[in-house]
C-alpha cells in the first residue's frame, strides 16, 4: 500500500490539473449551448460574452503570467479585427467600399476560417516586433509604453486608408461568428492559454513574476520569457479580434480602443488577475452583468420587474465594478485556479 501512495498522489495532481482546464471549458460550452436556447435578440449577449472571454484570456496570457500591466493588448485585437475584416469582404463589394486599398489587399479575399488564422499570424508577428524592445521595461514604464503602442495602432488604423477603412466604418464583413464558432473560438483560446501556463516556458515566466531577481539568478531570461508570452498573447488577441469582427459584421477603430481596453482589464481584475479561471469568470460575469443591465433598461422580469431608467446601465456597471474591486481586490477567484478543495493561505 505504501508504495502506491506517490502514484496515487500523482494521479490526484493530474486530475486536479485536468479540472483546471475542464472547469473553464465547461462554462464556455455551457454559455455556447445556452445561446441556442434563447431568443435571437438575446443570442448576441451570449456570443458577446464568449468573444469577451477570448479577449480577456488573451490579455491574461501576458498580464496574468508575467505580472506586467499592459494597456496595449487591445491594439492586437484591433489588428486582428481589421485584418480579418478587410480580407473577408466579398471582392465585388470591396472595390466600392475600400477603393484606396493596396492592390494586394483589394484583389484578394479569403475564407472565414483562414481569416481567423491570418489574423492570429499577423497579430503574433506585430506583437513580437513590438515586444522585442518593449519587454525590457517593467512596472509603470511598461504600462505607459504599451499604452503608446495602443495609441500608435489606433492612429495608423484610423488614418491610413491603404490598409483599411480609415475613420469610416468597416462594413459588409460576413457575420460568421455564430454559436459554434464563438464557442470553439473561446475554447481554442482557453486551451492554448492553459497549455502555455502548464508548459516549461509558462512556468519560467510565472517564476519571474513572483521574483524577477531570483528567477534571473537561476538562469531565467526574463526578457525572452516575457517576449514569448507577449507574442502568444498578441496572436490570441488578434484571433479574438477576428471573432469579434465576424460577430458584429462592421467595426470602427473607436470600438477597439480605450473603452475596450479599460473594460477588459476590469474584467480580468474582477475575476482575479493571476488565474485562467479568474479571466474566464471575470469576462462572463461582467459581460453578463452588462447584458442584464441593458435589458433592465427596457424592463425585465426576474420574479419581480426590474425597470431601470434609460442611460443608467453604465452608472450601475461602473459602480458594481468599482465596488467589487474595493470589497474584493484579489478578484472573485482570488487569483487561484479552479479546485474542488477549499484552500486557505496565500494564492499559488
Amino acid at each position: 500500500m505504501k508504495a502506491s501512495k506517490p502514484a496515487s498522489r500523482r494521479m490526484k495532481a493530474r486530475l486536479e490539473a485536468g479540472l483546471q482546464l475542464l472547469a473553464p471549458a465547461t462554462v464556455v460550452v455551457a454559455v455556447g449551448i445556452g445561446s441556442s436556447y434563447v431568443s435571437s435578440s438575446n443570442e448576441i449577449y451570449f456570443l458577446n460574452a464568449l468573444v469577451s472571454v477570448a479577449i480577456v484570456v488573451a490579455i491574461y496570457v501576458f498580464v496574468g503570467n508575467s505580472g506586467v500591466l499592459s494597456f496595449g493588448q487591445i491594439s492586437f485585437v484591433a489588428v486582428g479585427a481589421f485584418t480579418a475584416g478587410v480580407m473577408t469582404i466579398p471582392l465585388e463589394s470591396k472595390l466600392g467600399v475600400l477603393p484606396e486599398l493596396f492592390p494586394l489587399l483589394r484583389e484578394h479575399t479569403i475564407g472565414n476560417v483562414a481569416s481567423l488564422g491570418l489574423a492570429a499570424a499577423v497579430g503574433g508577428a506585430f506583437a513580437f516586433v513590438v515586444g522585442l524592445p518593449l519587454m525590457r521595461l517593467s512596472g509603470l514604464a511598461a504600462g505607459i509604453a504599451t499604452f503608446a503602442v495602443l495609441e500608435i495602432t489606433h492612429n495608423v488604423l484610423r488614418e491610413w486608408v491603404k490598409i483599411g477603412p480609415g475613420a469610416t466604418t468597416l462594413s459588409l464583413v460576413p457575420e460568421t461568428t455564430g454559436a459554434l464558432q464563438a464557442t470553439v473560438g473561446a475554447l481554442v483560446v482557453v486551451s492554448v492559454a492553459f497549455a502555455y501556463q502548464r508548459s516549461r516556458l509558462g512556468r519560467l515566466l510565472r517564476a519571474s513574476r513572483e521574483d524577477a531577481a531570483a528567477a534571473q539568478g537561476v538562469g531565467v531570461s526574463v526578457h525572452r520569457q516575457r517576449l514569448w508570452a507577449f507574442t502568444l498573447s498578441g496572436a490570441l488577441a488578434a484571433f479574438a479580434g477576428a471573432l469579434l469582427v465576424h460577430l458584429l459584421g462592421s467595426i470602427t477603430t473607436e470600438q477597439v480602443y480605450l473603452e475596450l481596453t479599460f473594460i477588459t482589464l476590469a474584467m480580468l481584475v474582477v475575476g482575479g488577475l493571476t488565474s485562467l479561471w479568474g479571466a474566464v469568470l471575470g469576462a462572463l460575469l461582467v459581460s453578463g452583468l452588462d447584458s442584464f443591465l441593458s435589458e433592465a433598461e427596457q424592463g425585465v422580469k426576474v420574479g419581480f420587474v426590474v425597470d431601470l431608467p434609460q442611460g443608467s446601465r453604465l452608472v450601475f456597471l461602473g459602480a458594481i465594478m468599482a465596488l467589487m474591486l474595493i470589497l474584493r481586490p484579489v478578484g472573485i477567484t482570488g487569483g487561484r485556479e479552479f479546485s474542488l478543495r477549499r484552500r486557505r493561505g496565500a494564492p499559488a
Binding site: 500591466l69 505607459i144 516575457r226 453604465l314 452608472v315 468599482a322
Partner: protein
C-alpha cells in the same frame, strides 16, 4: 505684415499658447504626483475631478463669478476627499495594478453619472461661460496672447511656488516628503498616515478645481469626457518625466503640454494626422532609454530593467 514677420509672430503665438497648455498640464501633473507620492497610486479618475468642477461651473453659470468658482472648489474638494475615503483607503495595501484598474472603474462610474445628469435636458454638453471674458486676447509686444494663458501661467507659477514653500518649510510638508520617501519608516517615527494622505488628496483636489476653472475658459462646452484626453496625456507625461519625484513629474507634465502645443501650432492641418504616432513613438523611445524618467537623476531604485 510681410512673410518672415508673419512666421515670427506665429511662432511667438504658438510658443505663448504652448506655454499656457504646459502650465495647465503641470498643475495636473502635480495633482497626480502628490497622491502618487504618498499612496503609490496613479489616480486615473483625476480627470473626472476636473470634469466635475467644469460641470459645477456650467450649472452655476448664472451665479456671480466668485460664487460659481467657489462652488467649483467645494464640489471638487469634497469629491476628492470622498474618493480617498471610499476608494483609496480600502485599497492602500493592494498592488498598483489593482489600484489603477479600480480608479478606471471609478472614472467610468463618474463619467456615466455625468452623462446621466447631462442628458436631463436632452442635449449632451453644457456651456460654462462665467469667466469667458478671459478668453479675449490682449496685445503683448505684437503677439496676441489670450488673457487666460497669462492667468494659467501665473496661477501655475504661484501654485507651484506655494507648494514648494509648503513642502520645504512646514511640518505637514516635511511629513509628506517623508511619507513619499518611505511610508513605512515615516509612520514608525510618528507621521500620521491618514493626515498626510488626506492633505495630499486635499491639495490635489484644489489643483483639479483650479485646472477646471482654467480649462472651461479655453473649452467652454463641458461634456462627460471633459479633460479625459488631457488626463491621459498628463499621465504619460508624468511617467516619461519621472513619477518617483514630484518635480520631475511636474516637469514631465509641462514638457508634454508644451511639446503638444508647439507641434500642434507649428504644422499645417493636413500633415498632423499621424502626429499622435510620432509623439507616442518618441514616448516609447524615451522610456526605453530612460525608464526611470527623462529628468530623473541617476539610476532609480524603484524601476528595474530586465
Amino acid at each position: 505684415m510681410t512673410g518672415p514677420g508673419l512666421i515670427a509672430a506665429l511662432d511667438a503665438q504658438t510658443v505663448a499658447d504652448a506655454v499656457g497648455l504646459g502650465a495647465v498640464y503641470a498643475l495636473m501633473a502635480v495633482g497626480i504626483g502628490l497622491v502618487f507620492g504618498v499612496l503609490r497610486l496613479i489616480n486615473f479618475a483625476y480627470g473626472q475631478l476636473v470634469m466635475a468642477g467644469a460641470y459645477t461651473l456650467a450649472f452655476t453659470s448664472d451665479w456671480p463669478v466668485a460664487a460659481s468658482i467657489a462652488a467649483c472648489f467645494v464640489v471638487v474638494i469634497a469629491l476628492s476627499l470622498a474618493m480617498e475615503r471610499a476608494v483609496f483607503r480600502p485599497l492602500r495595501t493592494q498592488s498598483p495594478a489593482v489600484m489603477l484598474v479600480t480608479t478606471f472603474a471609478v472614472a467610468f462610474f463618474l463619467q456615466s453619472v455625468a452623462l446621466l445628469i447631462d442628458i436631463g435636458d436632452d442635449t449632451i454638453g453644457e456651456p460654462a461661460a462665467s469667466v469667458a471674458s478671459l478668453n479675449q486676447a490682449i496685445d503683448v509686444g505684437g503677439v496676441d496672447v489670450r488673457k487666460i494663458t497669462i492667468v494659467a501661467v501665473v496661477t501655475a507659477v504661484v501654485a507651484l511656488s506655494l507648494l514648494a514653500i509648503l513642502l520645504a518649510r512646514t511640518s505637514i510638508g516635511l511629513h509628506m516628503r517623508a511619507a513619499a520617501a518611505d511610508f513605512q519608516t515615516a509612520r514608525l517615527v510618528g507621521v500620521r498616515a491618514n493626515t498626510v494622505i488626506g492633505f495630499a488628496v486635499l491639495l490635489s483636489g484644489v489643483l483639479a478645481a483650479t485646472v477646471a476653472v482654467i480649462l472651461t475658459v479655453q473649452f467652454p462646452l463641458v461634456s462627460p469626457d471633459f479633460a479625459l484626453r488631457d488626463t491621459i496625456v498628463v499621465l504619460v507625461g508624468v511617467v516619461v518625466g519621472g513619477i518617483d519625484r514630484l518635480w520631475t513629474a511636474t516637469l514631465g507634465g509641462f514638457t508634454i503640454g508644451f511639446a503638444s502645443g508647439i507641434i500642434n501650432g507649428a504644422l499645417p492641418t493636413d500633415e498632423t494626422v499621424f502626429l499622435p504616432s510620432a509623439v507616442f513613438a518618441l514616448v516609447i523611445l524615451v522610456l526605453l532609454l530612460r525608464p526611470a524618467g527623462l529628468f530623473a537623476r541617476g539610476p532609480s531604485s524603484g524601476v528595474e530593467r530586465v
